[in-house]
Symmetry: C2
Subunit: 572 residues, 2 copies
DNA sequence: AAGCGTTCAGACTGTTCA
DNA sequence: TGAACAGTCTGAACGCTT
């Protein structure tokens, strides 16, 4: 959906100025009759368009001239703003409603006319433009087609005086090999095509409208940035809708271009700007959509959720998650990151050798899970008892999942993302934890970590999502019925997010395999309790709830609630 | 110092459009030779200017024509932007550096010329302007004086084509009695003066520059608002500094006026706009000063500190306080107002019959004085002991002054400004207070109130200032030396503010009398202690300081300081 | 690199208010 | 009269896709 996209009918004339650098390209522009017919047929077939008007006569000698002229400079029709509908033959924008692009390969005639004047070899750039546009002291606006003009392209819609007649002589010096011979039968056409080349080089530098410095083609004509913007803003209105504050024959230059819209716009059209090159509203939204999509992809790549430089076909096999999904995911990951910074105040700085490492690690993990949980809206909406149920019932699983997330297999120790400098405080605890948790604890944990990390290729975000899914387990003992519904709803939400993440990270077909496996892992996590028998006390109601309740209260910011325990549900 | 102010030489022609309604005013415009000479002489005498060039010939018949032209429409010189220095004869801005005003009474010629065309009685306003300015299809700019032109005013500086020749016939109908005879010898001048009148009425409506609707004169020419603004913004640059993006002969109209600065500005000058009418930077600051002054006066009137509608001479006898003074004063009054809202929490709502009313009233007053004091920067900078000294030492005086402020003589009771609905709570306390304070207490208080309120005409603000002066008494016992200096400094500040307030409320001479009397009252206040013997306990160190200290601490917002009495100075 | 759209600061204008 | 304001337009700079 973009004018710049390569059109389907490449073989037709392309003269974007660049191609002019390669002299043999000119040959390409001269399309033999048969090819042209073929091309027209293709067009008709492809677009199911009504029969296209043919303007290539079959065997008239004059037809050769007019046709080869078309091949090089196309027809006056395509450049004239007064021609209501450019023919499809010339690759103009299709008249169907499909967002087919205007093409670059056909070329304005108007440029060639005015460019003919530039051969006077002016001394300065400004003079060059002036000569090019007006001659020296041009008469005022004369919208005339002088019949019998010797130069055929003069019949086009230029509103200003014809260039001085020094064209032909100046051309010869620059008319190098390739194009000249091929440029067909009409003798005048030869000089035109050579002139077109020369003019291109000149016009590469100056705006055909106002004479300001130009960077290249805009809307199919060489123009400066300001005229480009002007044309985009005003072309839709049309010349007739604007009115000239003067006499309607303003000569536009760099100093007065701002003043008369009408004459400026008219000149824009005159030098070959085409409003069809301006993106329509639909094309713009489409393009914007594409840009957003790309931005999203780049974000995902940055987050490591998408391999870099995927081919479009590889991309097509995936279902990229939405921007709001990414938003939510990164938010969750940020909460996790913050939770990893939680320290238990009393222990901070003093290596607690006398306290059981088992308790140390577990407590810290639980604290961090609590910290994370309390930032989730879904968790906040639960009643205090239901919160405790989730945390209590899921304590071991959550600790283990957190362990997998923070476990560094390379160094075989736990690392929380922050505080890596003094990492031993946590990492060593983890080792002790595994040793103390039970005889088979280490094996079970490593098995879990390997399955998730290696077999199922879980990355950080995936694991954090899994953690959320685990937290919101609706089948925890003791949940209130209403709480159960809320929890299930939340779990569904995070599970679906997880699934969409998988369909982003992997192909859809692969995600379809991995997703149930992850849920299976979540289920198997429950069976691990036997391996962590010594840790079972963590889920012992006599131990956990007071700790949790207090911590839940303490972090609410309400200094009163800790002192005055209230049994209202949801103090948050 | 303003162009709009009425000039000194009123008798000369004044034709601001309004005067044109009165037909006999035309006589005034025709100034006989002798008057003109006299006028010139006056001008020379007044301004001590070098001899002014005379351009009124003495006894040429042609001179009559040109002179009467001057009388009515002035000379081309005054309208032409090319005349480097307008003659003082015509009331133009003086060439001296004194800020003498440009005058309104002389009139542009350019308008009169173009206005001659308006007699074609166009159907629409726009047509009227177009006819007026250009005729139908005028040739381009021709800065010519055609010699021998039949219409003398045609020789002026209009750059556009002459109006259609239907002038003379249309004029006769409007040439009413008064002016015609007086308008002197040249027959053509008569029609011109009639034309001028007619033109004025037309020109009152249309901008001489662009033809847009005009509201009146701007910079001495009839123009629309936009051309006014344009002229103000660009006149200083001068025509030469601007360049025309076209050929330098733009015909300005409402649709293209914004495009060519140069030609628009040139036309502004052509129609008689004068850059001397634009306020200089100094004039602008002066004007702004005046506006600020007026704003200040209005503020003071609103605050009741200045009688409304003072004559300038009455105003001259006063010294209006500065805006920052007003700011400070209103701030102080606001603090007082807030302090009057202070309630003693424990007593709020329960009528304390068992507690001595004496204590009730006194305590409440002191509390409010403390509340006020603590909002004053100067007070805050004092050390805690010094604060206590001021409050303790001035307690009785401050209570009494507050009493005067809040005393309502009409109902003979105390009213604090807020809580007037349930006013009894305070007002009755006051009565009891006076009864309980001592045998002579009532008399002494009423005496004080009468002196301040009636004799010395103290208003609310004055009394509040007096309260501040009383608070910052540097001779209170127990003040530290540093504190004493600070307090004195503060008292001086408030006393000076008081003095300036008096010089605003009264004439300077009256203020000079009142001010020392107020200070005397402040001194006499000290002698009143004997009349309030029973209240003397208030200044008893055993009673007051603990109360005050606590209250001072309590209102600091520092919850700790009340519980942990700290003897650092200035916890604020 | 070419050629689209987008964004934004700045210039000016002309209206309105005081 | 000036001040202030809102609104328009411009054009340079930038980002993005092909
Ligand atoms: Zn341009
Ligand atoms: Zn124009
Ligand atoms: Zn105007
Ligand atoms: Zn101009």
């Amino acid at each position: 959906g973009h004018p710049q996209s390569v059109p389907d009918f490449q073989p037709s004339a392309n003269a974007t100025g660049l191609d002019l650098q390669q002299s043999n390209n000119i040959e390409k522009k001269i399309v033999p009759l048969e090819d042209m017919d073929l091309y027209n047929q293709q067009q008709q077939q492809r677009q199911q368009a009504p029969k296209v008007e043919q303007f290539v006569p079959l065997d008239d000698s004059a037809s050769d001239a007019s046709f080869s002229l078309c091949g090089v400079t196309l027809s006056p029709l395509s450049a004239s703003s007064y021609s209501p509908m450019p023919s499809q033959n010339y690759g103009g924008p299709s008249s169907s409603m499909m967002p087919q692009q205007p093409m670059h390969q056909q070329h304005p005639v108007a440029q060639d006319q005015s460019s003919g004047a530039s051969f006077a070899l002016p001394t300065s750039d400004v003079e060059a433009f002036q000569a090019m546009s007006f001659g020296n002291q041009p008469p005022l606006y004369m919208p005339v087609d002088l019949p019998g003009q010797p130069m055929p392209h003069q019949a086009a819609s230029s509103c200003y005086s014809p260039p001085p007649p020094s064209v032909a002589s100046a051309v010869s010096s620059d008319a190098t090999g390739g194009g000249a011979g091929a440029s067909a039968s009409a003798s005048s056409a030869a000089s035109v095509s050579g002139g077109a080349r020369r003019a291109k080089q000149r016009e590469d530098k100056f705006c055909g409208v106002c004479g300001d410095k130009a960077l290249g083609f805009n809307f199919d004509a060489v123009s400066c940035e300001s005229c480009k913007a002007f044309f985009r803003r005003n072309a839709a209105k049309g010349v007739e809708a604007l009115k000239c504050p003067y006499e309607g024959n303003c000569r536009i230059d760099i100093s007065n271009r701002r003043f008369c819209k009408r004459c400026r716009l008219r000149k824009c059209f005159d030098v070959g700007m085409k409003k069809e090159y301006i993106l329509t509203e639909e094309e713009k939204t489409e393009k914007r959509k594409k840009i957003d999509q790309n931005k999203l992809l780049r974000t995902l790549e940055t987050l490591g959720l998408l391999p870099k430089e995927l081919t479009p076909s590889e991309l097509a096999d995936r279902e990229i998650m939405s921007e709001s999904d990414v938003q939510e995911l990164t938010q969750l990951a940020e909460y996790y990151r913050q939770s990893a910074e939680v320290r238990v105040a009393e222990r901070h700085g003093q290596r607690a050798a006398n306290v059981d490492d088992l308790i140390n690690f577990a407590e810290l993990s639980v604290m961090r899970v609590i910290d994370l949980s309390k930032k989730l809206d879904e968790f906040r909406q639960l009643s205090q008892p239901d919160k405790v149920c989730l945390l209590k019932g899921g304590a071991l699983e959550l600790i283990l999942l957190r362990g997998v997330i923070s476990f560094d297999p390379d160094h075989a120790r736990f690392l929380d993302e922050t505080d890596t400098a003094s990492a031993e405080s946590d990492s060593m605890q983890g080792q002790d934890f595994l040793r103390a948790a039970g005889p088979n604890a280490g094996h079970a944990f490593f098995q879990l970590a390997r399955t998730l990390r290696s077999n199922l290729q879980c990355d950080h975000h995936t694991l954090v999502l899994l953690l959320a899914c685990c937290l919101f387990s609706p089948d925890r003992a003791g949940l209130s019925p209403e709480g159960r519904d809320l929890v299930e709803e939340s779990q569904v939400k995070y599970c679906m997010l997880l699934e969409r993440l998988l369909r982003t990270r992997f192909t859809v077909s692969h995600a379809r395999k991995v997703y149930p496996q992850l849920l299976t892992q979540l289920a198997e996590l429950r069976g691990l309790e036997k391996d962590f028998s010594d840790l079972a006390t963590m889920s012992n109601p006599r131990f956990v709830p007071p700790l949790m309740s207090e911590f839940l209260d303490l972090q609410d910011g309400g200094s009163g609630s800790a002192k005055h325990p209230q049994h209202r549900s949801s103090p948050l």
